[in-house]
C-alpha cells in the first residue's frame, strides 16, 4: 500500500507534522524569551518605581539671620566651633506659629536636616562679608519630612505608629502653604559620601572607591591575563602540565568570589600588611577574580585567529614573537578587550570578596587615593539595604540604578570596541 506512494506523496504526508513541530519549537522559544523579558521589565519597573524618587529631595526655604553674636560670642569667628545649628533653628522658629516649650521646640528642630548647619557653615566660609545680614536659603529637610512629602509616611495612621507627630505634620502643612517647601534635584546623592542621615548620604564615596579599584584591576589583570593567554596558546608546550593549568584556570573562574576575598585577606592584608578597606587591596582581589575570565576570553580570541595567517608570517621568516605581536595580537585584540570589559563589569558588581577585606566599613569621606579607606558601589547597596531608615530604601534602589547604568555603559563599550576594531581589518 505504502510502497505505491511516490516520494512526493510521502513527503507531503509528513509535511503537516513537520510544520507543527517547527511551530511548537518556535513557540517555546518565543515563550522562553518572553518570560525573560517579563522578569526584566518587572525588575526595572520596581527598581525605577522605588528608586526614581531618591533623585529628588525636599528642601525648606529659611530666612537665616547670620547673627555674629551667636556665631562669634567672643568676637572671634571659629568656623569649627561656631553654632550654625542655632541660627537654622531660630530661622525655622520664625516660620511657624505657636511653638511653646522645650519638647515642642525639639520636635520642630527635627524638621530640618543637620546638614543645614554644614551648608550654612560652607556658605559663611565662602561669603564672610555677608555676616550680619539675613539670607534666604534652601536647606535640606530631614529624611522623615522628605518621606512625608513623597507620600511614604501615611498621615492617616495613628500618631504612635508613625515617625512624625501630628504637630510636625501640621508644621509641614504650614510650611507647604507658605511656599517654603520644595522638591529639588538631590545633588547630595552624587556629591556626598555615606552618612547616617539619609538626606545627606551619597554614593560619591562608593563610586570613587569602585573607580580606584577598577583602575587597579584593569591595569593588572589585562596585561597579566593577556600575557598568560599568549604564553599558554603560543609558546607553552602542549603536554600534561599545560592541560593541568588549563583545567585549573577554568576551575578558578568558577570559584566562589568570597574565597578570593579570604585569600586577599590572608595574603594582602595579613602577610603583605597592606591597609584594610583600601581600594588597592580591593583591586588586587578583583584582579585575582577577573584573571581567569580574561585568560579564558583571550585564549579563545587567540585561538580564533586563522592558522593561515600564522603560517604566512612564519613562512616569510617572522620569528614567533613577531608572529604574535604583528599578526595574532591585532586580530585577537577585539576579543581580548571584550573579555576584559566583561571581566571588569563582573568586578564592578562584586561585593562578597570586598566584605572580607574590610571594604564594608562605614566610610564617610570620599576616598582620594588607592590607600584611603573606601567602599564600593555594590557594598554601598548592601549597606543601605541593611539600614532601617525608610529613606534608605529608595536610595538603595537609586544606587542600584546607578550601578546598572555603569554596567550598561561598560557592556556598550565592549560592543563598540569590538565593532570599531573589527571594521579595521
Amino acid at each position: 500500500m505504502n510502497s505505491k506512494l511516490t516520494t512526493a506523496e510521502k513527503v507531503q504526508a509528513g509535511l503537516a507534522r513537520r510544520r507543527r513541530k517547527e511551530f511548537l519549537f518556535r513557540l517555546s522559544g518565543m515563550l522562553a524569551t518572553a518570560v525573560g523579558i517579563v522578569f526584566l521589565m518587572v525588575f526595572f519597573a520596581t527598581l525605577i518605581g522605588k528608586g526614581a524618587s531618591a533623585f529628588k529631595q525636599t528642601f525648606l526655604l529659611l530666612d537665616i539671620e547670620l547673627n555674629e553674636e551667636v556665631l562669634a560670642p567672643d568676637g572671634e569667628l571659629d568656623l569649627a566651633y561656631a553654632d550654625f545649628d542655632s541660627l537654622v533653628r531660630a530661622a525655622l522658629r520664625k516660620e511657624v506659629a505657636d511653638v511653646s516649650g522645650r519638647s515642642e521646640r525639639r520636635e520642630l528642630n527635627r524638621l530640618v536636616s543637620i546638614g543645614a548647619g554644614y551648608q550654612l557653615r560652607d556658605f559663611v566660609m565662602q561669603n564672610p562679608e555677608l555676616l550680619g545680614t539675613t539670607q534666604p536659603m534652601w536647606v535640606p529637610a530631614a529624611s522623615n519630612i522628605d518621606m512625608l512629602v513623597k507620600g511614604n509616611i501615611d498621615a492617616s495612621l495613628d500618631e504612635s505608629l508613625r515617625q512624625l507627630s501630628d504637630r510636625q505634620i501640621g508644621w509641614v502643612e504650614e510650611l507647604r502653604s507658605a511656599d517654603r517647601l520644595k522638591s529639588k534635584f538631590n545633588t547630595a546623592l552624587f556629591s556626598n559620601g555615606d552618612s547616617r542621615e539619609p538626606e545627606l548620604a551619597g554614593i560619591k564615596g562608593a563610586m570613587m572607591g569602585s573607580f580606584f579599584m577598577l583602575l587597579v584591576t584593569i591595569s593588572l589583570s589585562f596585561p597579566i591575563g593577556v600575557a598568560a593567554a599568549i604564553y599558554l596558546e603560543e609558546f607553552a608546550p602542549k603536554n600534561r602540565l599545560a592541560d593541568l593549568v588549563e583545567v585549573n584556570i577554568n576551575n578558578l573562574a568558577a570559584v566562589p568570589s568570597i574565597v578570593f576575598g579570604l585569600l586577599g585577606l590572608a595574603v594582602f592584608i595579613n602577610w603583605m600588611a597592606l591597609p584594610r578597606s583600601a581600594p588597592l587591596v580591593g583591586g588586587l582581589v578583583l584582579t585575582l577574580l577577573t584573571l581567569p575570565v580574561i585568560i579564558i576570553a583571550s585564549r579563545a580570541a587567540i585561538k580564533a585567529v586563522p592558522p593561515s595567517i600564522r603560517e604566512a608570517a612564519l613562512g616569510i621568516g617572522a620569528s614567533q614573537m613577531q608572529v604574535v605581536f604583528h599578526h595574532v595580537l591585532p586580530l585577537a585584540m577585539p576579543g581580548m578587550l571584550t573579555g576584559a570589559i566583561i571581566g571588569m563589569s563582573r568586578a564592578l558588581g562584586e561585593s562578597a570578596p570586598l566584605l572580607m577585606i574590610g571594604m564594608i566599613a562605614f566610610v564617610v569621606d570620599v576616598p582620594g587615593g588607592f590607600t584611603d579607606p573606601a567602599t564600593a558601589l555594590p557594598v554601598q547597596i548592601y549597606l543601605w539595604a541593611d539600614s532601617p531608615e525608610r529613606a534608605f530604601a529608595e536610595r538603595t534602589s537609586a544606587a542600584i540604578i546607578v550601578l546598572l547604568v555603569f554596567l550598561l555603559l561598560m557592556n556598550l563599550a565592549a560592543v563598540l570596541v569590538r565593532r570599531r576594531m573589527e571594521r579595521k581589518w
Partner: protein, 290 residues
C-alpha cells in the same frame, strides 16, 4: 619485512578500496626508481624520515633539487608530499609531535643543525600556501612585511622599489598600483595568491616552496600563476606540490611521485609522464589510483 607488516595495518583502508594494490607493492617494492640526482643540486634531502607521533609520514626520502628548475611533487592525498615540502623550510617545527630524521642541506649547509636559525632559513626558502593568505593589512604592507622584519630596505624609497618590483614580477602591479593602500583581502582569489607570491619574492629567497598554490583558483588565475612560475624559475629553485598532473606536466622539469610516505619515482617530467618505470606511478598518472 617488518616495515611491510606495519604498513599493512595502516594501509588497510586503502587496500580495501584497491584490492590489487597490495600485490603491486610487493611486486615492485618501495625503493625510489628513476633518478633522484640532478645537475648542480642546491637543496639535498638525504634519507629523510618524518614521524607525527606514531605515524611514520615520510619514509626514507632522498631527493635533490637543482637551481633554476621546478620540481613537482605529485601523489594521492595523504601521501606526504606536503609534509616533505614543509620539511624544506622547517615549517614542521611548530608542530610539537613532529620528529624529523635524516639530513637536508641547503647549498651545502645542514638546515636542521643547531646553528641554523629557522627564521634565517625561511628568509632563504620562501613558501606559498594552498589557500591565499594575505595579511589583513594593505597590499603595500603585505609585500613590505618580509623586507621590513628582515631589515632588507635601508629607507622608504628602497622599500618602495622592492614592493613595486616584487608586485611587478608577480604580475600584479598593473592591477593594484593605484590602490596599494587597499586591504590585501579585498583582491580576488587569484590576485590574492599572486600577492602572496609577491610577498614571498620580496624577501628575495633562493628557493620557493609552493603547496598546491592553484587549488583554490579558477583556470584563468591558474594559468597566470603557471606563467609566473616559468618566469620565476629563471632565478629561483621552485618546489611545487600539485594534485593536477597537467599542471605538473606544464610547469615542472622534474617530477617526484610520492605514495604513502615513500618516494616512488623521480625523473624528468616528460620521462615520468610518457614512460613511468614503477607500476604505482603508472597507475596514478593514468588515473587508476589517486
Amino acid at each position: 619485512m617488518t616495515e611491510d607488516s606495519l604498513d599493512t595495518q595502516t594501509d588497510q583502508k586503502t587496500a580495501a578500496v584497491l584490492p590489487d594494490f597490495r600485490q603491486q607493492v610487493v611486486e615492485f617494492g618501495r625503493e625510489t626508481v628513476g633518478n633522484v640526482h640532478c645537475e648542480n643540486p642546491f637543496m639535498i634531502a638525504k634519507n629523510v624520515n618524518v614521524y607525527y607521533g606514531d605515524n611514520h609520514a615520510i619514509k626514507d626520502v632522498t631527493l635533490e633539487i637543482g637551481k633554476k628548475q621546478v620540481v613537482a611533487l605529485i601523489g594521492p592525498s595523504g601521501c606526504g608530499k606536503s609534509t616533505f615540502l614543509r620539511c624544506l623550510n622547517r615549517m614542521n617545527d611548530s608542530i610539537d609531535i613532529a620528529k624529523i630524521t635524516g639530513e637536508i642541506t641547503l647549498d651545502g649547509t645542514d638546515i636542521y643543525s643547531k646553528a641554523q636559525d629557522p627564521v634565517a632559513l625561511r628568509a632563504r626558502v620562501g613558501m606559498v600556501f594552498q589557500k591565499p593568505n594575505p595579511f589583513p593589512k594593505s597590499i603595500y604592507d603585505n609585500v613590505a612585511y618580509g623586507p621590513r622584519i628582515h631589515g632588507l630596505a635601508g629607507d622608504r624609497a628602497e622599500l618602495d622599489s622592492i614592493v613595486h618590483s616584487s608586485l611587478e614580477r608577480a604580475g600584479l602591479l598593473n592591477e593594484v598600483k593605484d590602490r596599494l593602500d587597499d586591504p590585501g583581502t579585498s583582491l580576488s582569489g587569484g590576485q590574492q595568491q599572486r600577492l602572496c607570491i609577491a610577498r614571498t619574492i620580496a624577501v628575495n629567497p633562493e628557493v620557493i616552496l609552493m603547496d598546491e598554490p592553484c587549488s583554490a583558483l579558477d583556470p584563468i588565475a591558474t594559468a597566470r600563476i603557471e606563467d609566473l612560475m616559468d618566469e620565476l624559475c629563471e632565478d629561483y629553485a621552485i618546489v611545487i606540490v600539485t594534485h593536477s598532473m597537467q599542471q605538473a606536466a606544464r610547469v615542472s622539469k622534474r617530477v617526484a611521485y610520492f605514495h604513502l610516505g615513500h618516494l616512488i619515482e623521480v625523473d624528468d617530467t616528460d620521462k615520468v609522464f610518457t614512460n613511468p618505470q614503477h607500476k604505482l606511478t603508472e597507475d596514478y598518472i593514468t588515473g587508476r589510483i589517486g
